[in-house]
């Protein structure tokens, strides 16, 4: 077995070789997991008043980083790439401009970046970071929903068993948890604003679920 965190140049090269810019040029428009729901039209013709507002942040770059949190070199490398240190406190998140980083488990972070920057960020990690880690582009596998409004907590209480009391779930907290009969990564981004990262294959189910469970409050789709 090789030593921890020591990689030969050839190994580094081999790892790097698997990195791939997966996004074509802007001439080809990607389709988010909720493309079929046509949220843009719903935003135009749908209700303008309601207790819950929904907005999709689509086609972002989703990168999953795994590394040993006790490896200071890797932490420093991550900070050089992201401009902000990885959150080490469980269930917290940090932001730096259009980059945001979510603590997912003791050795795992979910990084969101603008969709066209994913490959750049990935390449920078490969350049900056040595040793044993993994970086996986999962941009096609999920999408981001922003839920906000005066009834957003009431809505979320119908979706997840997590305690959303502001004392226990302050702005910035992030959890990966049960969401209806699927799962979601939930982050509080404001007193009455949350961000959900949901899986592509479950996105239609969650979209249907949110429409149904928001019936008592009214759902406003926003662009």
């Amino acid at each position: 077995m090789s030593d921890l965190n020591v990689m030969t140049a050839a190994e580094m090269a081999a790892t790097k070789a698997a990195v791939m810019d997966q996004v074509p040029g802007p001439e080809i428009q990607g389709q988010s997991p909720l493309h079929h729901a046509d949220l843009d039209s719903l935003a135009k013709v749908g209700p303008k008043q309601g207790g819950v507002h929904l907005r999709e942040h689509k086609l972002l770059g989703h990168l999953t980083l795994r590394l040993n949190p006790e490896n200071d070199d890797q932490l420093a490398a991550a900070e050089r790439v992201l401009g902000v240190a990885l959150p080490l406190q469980p269930l917290t998140s940090v932001e730096n401009g259009s980059y945001s980083v979510r603590w997912m488990s003791p050795d795992e972070w979910l990084i969101l970046v603008p969709g066209l920057e994913a490959f750049d960020v990935e390449s920078k990690f490969r350049d900056e970071m040595g040793g044993h880690y993994s970086l996986v582009n999962s941009s096609g596998g999920s999408t981001v929903l922003e839920l906000s409004g005066p009834d957003v907590v009431e809505l979320l209480k119908r979706c997840t068993p997590i305690d959303l009391h502001p004392k226990l779930f302050p702005v910035g907290k992030v959890v990966s948890t049960v969401f209806a009969k699927s799962s979601a990564i939930i982050r509080r981004t404001g007193e009455q604003r949350f961000e959900l990262v949901i899986r592509r294959s479950f996105s239609d189910y969650i979209w249907l679920w949110l429409q149904e469970t928001s019936r008592e409050f009214g759902l406003v789709v926003k662009v």
């Binding site: 997966q22 074509p24 996986v136 596998g141 019936r215």
Partner: protein
């Protein structure tokens, strides 16, 4: 209809708001604030049901959740039918439509009553077991007739128009019951800053204080209730839940509450309002302030309408302004029973007598009754009741001091109402839900909650405390304890003071004697809802049922929807006496969730219709739907099964799809296959340990098929993994096995080989996988890429990073059909784009979309297994003829190696995978068919194997099948027979499972 029993004033009803309702097709009036029961009593409705077994007329007995008889069917339309509604808990609304459920054809004339009148002997306990179980063949007939006659309510035949809700809640303290104890506890906790949920099943808070004449601090108790409720409402962290029954107390202080949000408003919920809501509460502490139910005495004909528990009579008078009759006889063992006589008298109606079992009752309520000139008969009891659909009179007799026998002559009194009080039974149901065994308390003559493993506190009536001042202070104490336990500083709460009423000692008596022995006396009901009598319990004991649990099951005591709230203690007392034991020696039965019946709507919540179970879709789902695909469930995925064209049946579609792939090119959406990204220096080593075959020498840019086995050596998943980089692999799994395989990898990494440097991440949803397969697939792909796709540059089992239709892709030259195949993987946001471009370019090649069924046929033509269809957890690689996929040269072992070398796994004559060619090429053997060697052997025949995959092959022009035959690999060319259930037999020849292109030339061009 006039409300002949309604008082001119008093009560918590609003006489300015008149409401119309219907009961059994007849219209009545009531007021805002009524329950259905109080409105029925106001209108003099006597019979609300027919009893379960004897079909006796029954009336309203109680005023709350414990009501055993007034269980009605509600609903103005077919779609809004709700069974099992207790009229005592249903608030009245305008237009309410109700129906009695027991009694066929109706409650007033009933064919079943013949059974009851012919005599109790006809249906003793165990009647069903003894009579109707034999002959067994007729049980279904008996059962449907008895059920119809007994009536159990019915479910609607149309879809419920309402929606129901589930919600999660968290709190420091959940307080169950908003009577004096619960309010005191809630006030203490709320003032101290705790997160509080206060739930009560009634429409308004106050509990017993709503129907009392008692004063707090010299003012009506309701004033204190209002003040406390208002204060509680002012706290952000306090949630008040009226109309909410705490129905289940589960492990870890997880509590379920059934809230009826709009049941009090209308037949159908207002637009966009949930009808009912199930609260799932995680509470740090739970305070049970559930109070107590009054216990009726057991005397002959105690079920005739007009017989009620004493407290209920007071409640109807004081809370609803209804006096449920004209004349009252009270039969009691205690002072509290006098209260109904006082309230009745003060309402201006006649109290015939209070019959007290005690020889010398002394207490303030007794004095108050005497001061009002009420006739108090001591040392006596009501032993029998006259009347059928309403009480017409009672038989009163002196009884012995021990209450065991009638000691004097019988007097008859004329009355239409009997109020009874045998003391109180604490409502310990929720405590019992947690597994806590109740403890008998001689002093209060009842069971109280036993030791608990939950973070649970109790206060008030549940502890057997009935004095208002003690109840209030127990509530305060519970609140303080909870506050301290959650680490808060207690705020000051000053309790109001109730006037202390001096009470004399109660007599412990449950079962009133009759002049005849119990077995010959008129029926003395213990459990009204299941028609269990004292005589029935004695009979059960005589027949040898000594455990109370057995007595319960034999007699059905406590089995009704009321769970024996009124009758259980009396039943235990009767059994104890019959067995010559004490009640604690006899033991108690345990209550289980739910406390009161809950609707299926509330249980289902939003998880119904389209949301019953998540449906997972690939990026190309809309395209499949628009092309009219038929879908197959694979786990939660919806996969295209086949794509029928106009006029085609399924087999015709499959034939066309199969031929198109072999003749030109077809396309499959393979996005659902599990995909796991594996990174780290030890990724290759890890694969070598988890797969049965070798991975050490797989070069970057290459793919390999792998078999995954359990520790027992049995195949559980398979798939192709690609070497993306020396430290980087992409593993594919079966669609259904994806999550399990990822967990399997993590399990082995985290528990067995944590020293291996490797990380796993799922990328199943990230990639769309578009599989083009067929001799023209290269030509098709060449239309969308400049890359050199020649066999020399891009060989079988290679993968390449290229652009397809302008989109970066990883293309794998692997094949599950045996044809030249390219699996195109693109980031899923671009899947539909590439898919559509393939069709634009594919028209000239007759590019044909195919589904899972065609995929199954094509792979079976090649003899490729499907893990989970051709394997069942009992076959190892060698059984499958896949020994080539096992490497025993690996320096480290691999999962399953030892397992597949067990004695049983290496013996001769194991079932082995073979191909099967039917003698009649048109016959397709049903999957699952069992093989025999001699079709004429008498049953039981010796079975030598079974069929796992079987199809019609349009390419080959005959059927093909794969299956297991004992020692099959050595039996090539031999004949086996498949006898079918219709008596026919299919004859087949054992052959290689590779029916097409055994040299693999087609995929390697």
């Amino acid at each position: 209809m006039t409300q002949q029993n309604r008082l001119q004033s008093g009560g918590r009803i609003d006489r300015s708001k008149s409401l119309t309702f219907t009961y059994n097709g007849k219209q009545y009036k009531g007021f805002q604030g009524d329950t259905l029961a109080s409105a029925m009593l106001a209108n003099g409705v006597n019979v609300v049901s027919r009893s379960f077994k004897y079909s006796r007329p029954r009336g309203i007995v109680a005023a709350g959740a414990e009501e055993p008889n007034a269980i009605l069917q509600l609903g103005a339309t077919e779609a809004t039918q709700v069974p099992n509604v207790r009229a005592t808990q249903q608030e009245l609304f305008n237009g309410l439509v109700s129906q009695s459920t027991n009694g066929w054809p109706n409650v007033d004339t009933d064919v079943m009553s013949v059974l009851g009148k012919v005599g109790g002997k006809m249906m003793p306990p165990g009647f069903y077991y003894k009579t109707f179980m034999f002959p067994e063949s007729l049980w279904n007939t008996y059962e449907s007739l008895i059920r119809k006659a007994a009536g159990m309510g019915r479910s609607p035949l149309e879809n419920d128009p309402d929606f129901y809700d589930h919600i999660n809640q968290h709190c420091d303290v959940l307080i169950v019951g908003a009577g004096p104890a619960g309010l005191a506890a809630a006030l203490t906790a709320a003032r101290s800053g705790a997160r509080v949920i206060l739930a009560d099943e009634q429409s308004e808070f106050g509990g017993s204080l709503l129907s009392t004449t008692e004063k707090l601090d010299g003012k009506p108790a309701s004033e204190w209730v209002s003040a406390v409720t208002e204060e509680l409402r002012s706290y952000d962290d306090v949630m008040l839940l009226p109309r909410s029954t705490v129905n289940g107390y589960h492990d870890h202080n997880f509590v379920t509450i059934h809230e009826r949000c709009t049941d009090h408003l209308s037949d159908i919920a207002p637009v966009n309002q949930a009808r009912q809501r199930l609260h799932k509460v995680r509470a740090k502490w739970v305070v049970l302030a559930t109070g107590a139910h009054e216990r009726p005495l057991v005397y002959s004909n105690n079920d005739v309408p007009g017989c009620m528990v004493s407290g209920a009579v007071s409640t109807y008078i004081n809370r609803y302004g209804v006096v449920p009759g004209n004349e009252l006889v009270v039969t009691t063992t205690n002072d509290y029973g006098y209260q109904s006589a006082l309230d009745w008298h003060d309402a201006g109606r006649k109290v015939v007598a209070v019959v007290d079992t005690r020889a010398n009752p002394a207490g303030e309520r007794v004095d108050a009754a005497r001061q009002r000139g009420i006739n108090v008969i001591t040392g006596s009891a009501v032993i029998d009741v006259q009347g059928s659909k309403r009480v017409s009179g009672v038989s009163v007799a002196p009884i012995s001091a021990d209450g065991n026998k009638v000691s004097g002559s019988v007097t008859k009194l004329s009355t239409d109402t009997v109020a009874t009080s045998g003391g109180w039974s604490p409502v310990i149901h929720l405590s019992s839900h947690t597994g806590s065994r109740p403890i008998w308390n001689d002093e209060i003559v009842g069971f109280v909650p036993g030791p608990t493993v939950q973070k649970q506190l109790t206060a008030g009536g549940i502890n057997g405390s009935y004095n208002t001042n003690s109840v209030l202070s127990e509530g305060l104490e519970a609140g303080l304890k909870a506050v301290a336990e959650v680490g808060l500083n207690a705020a000051e709460v000053i309790l109001p003071i109730a006037e202390d009423v001096k009470e004399g000692a109660a007599m412990t008596l449950f079962h009133i004697p009759h002049v005849k022995p119990t077995s010959q006396a008129p029926k003395q009901f213990v459990d009204y809802q299941t028609d269990v009598t004292a005589a029935g319990i004695e009979l059960a004991c005589r027949e040898g049922f000594e455990s109370i649990e057995h007595v319960k099951r034999y007699t059905a005591m406590g089995f009704g929807t009321d769970q024996g709230k009124l009758g259980n203690i009396n039943g235990m007392a009767v059994a104890a006496k019959a067995l010559n034991k004490t009640i604690p020696q006899t033991g108690t039965t345990i209550f289980r969730p739910n406390y009161t019946p809950i609707t299926f709507g509330a249980i289902a919540g939003r998880n119904c219709g389209a949301l019953f179970d998540p449906k997972r879709y690939s990026a190309m789902q809309m395209w499949h739907v628009e092309r009219g695909a038929k879908f197959e469930d694979v786990g939660q995925w919806k996969r295209p099964w086949y794509f029928p064209q106009a006029g085609e049946n399924m087999q015709q579609s499959l034939d066309r799809e199969c031929l198109a792939v072999r003749d030109s090119v077809g396309i499959l959406d393979a996005s659902t296959l599990g995909k796991i990204d594996i990174q780290g220096k030890d990724a290759r080593e890890f694969l070598g340990r988890i797969y049965s075959n070798a991975w050490a020498k797989l070069a970057v840019g290459k793919c390999r098929y792998g078999l995954m086995c359990g520790e027992d050596g049995m195949v559980f998943d398979d798939g192709v993994s690609a070497c993306l980089g020396d430290n980087h692999f992409l593993m594919t799994t079966t669609t259904g096995g994806a999550a399990r395989v990822l967990e399997w990898l993590e399990l082995y990494h985290q528990t067995e080989w944590p020293e291996l440097e490797v990380y796993f991440n799922t990328v199943t949803d990230h990639w769309s996988t578009l599989t083009i397969s067929g001799p023209n697939s290269r030509k098709l792909l060449a239309e969308l890429t400049d890359y050199d796709l020649s066999n020399d540059n891009f060989s079988f089992m290679d993968w390449k990073q290229i652009k397809v239709a302008g989109v970066p892709a990883r293309v794998f030259r692997i094949s599950f059909t045996g044809e030249l195949t390219f699996e195109i993987n693109v980031q899923a946001n671009y899947g539909t784009h590439v898919w559509e471009k393939l069709f634009e370019a594919g028209a000239k090649y007759n590019l044909t979309p195919y589904g899972t069924e065609t995929m199954h046929i094509l792979r079976a033509e090649k003899g490729f297994i499907i893990a989970g269809q051709d394997t069942d957890g009992s076959v190892h690689p060698f059984d499958l003829g896949m020994g080539w996929c096992v490497s025993n040269k690996k320096p480290f072992s691999y999962v399953g190696k030892r397992g597949m070398n067990r004695q049983d796994c290496v013996r001769d004559n194991r079932k082995q995978m073979v191909g099967l060619k039917t003698k009649d090429p048109k016959m397709v053997i049903p999957e699952g068919a069992q093989a025999v060697l001699d079709p004429n052997e008498p049953i039981p025949m010796k079975m030598v194997g079974h069929v796992t995959s079987s199809y019609w092959s349009a390419n080959l022009g005959h059927s093909i099948a794969m299956g297991f035959i004992k020692g099959g690999l050595d039996k090539m060319g031999e004949t086996v027979y498949y006898p079918l259930v219709d008596g026919t037999v299919i004859e087949a020849e054992i052959c290689s499972p590779i029916f097409l292109d055994p040299k693999g030339e087609r995929q390697n061009v």
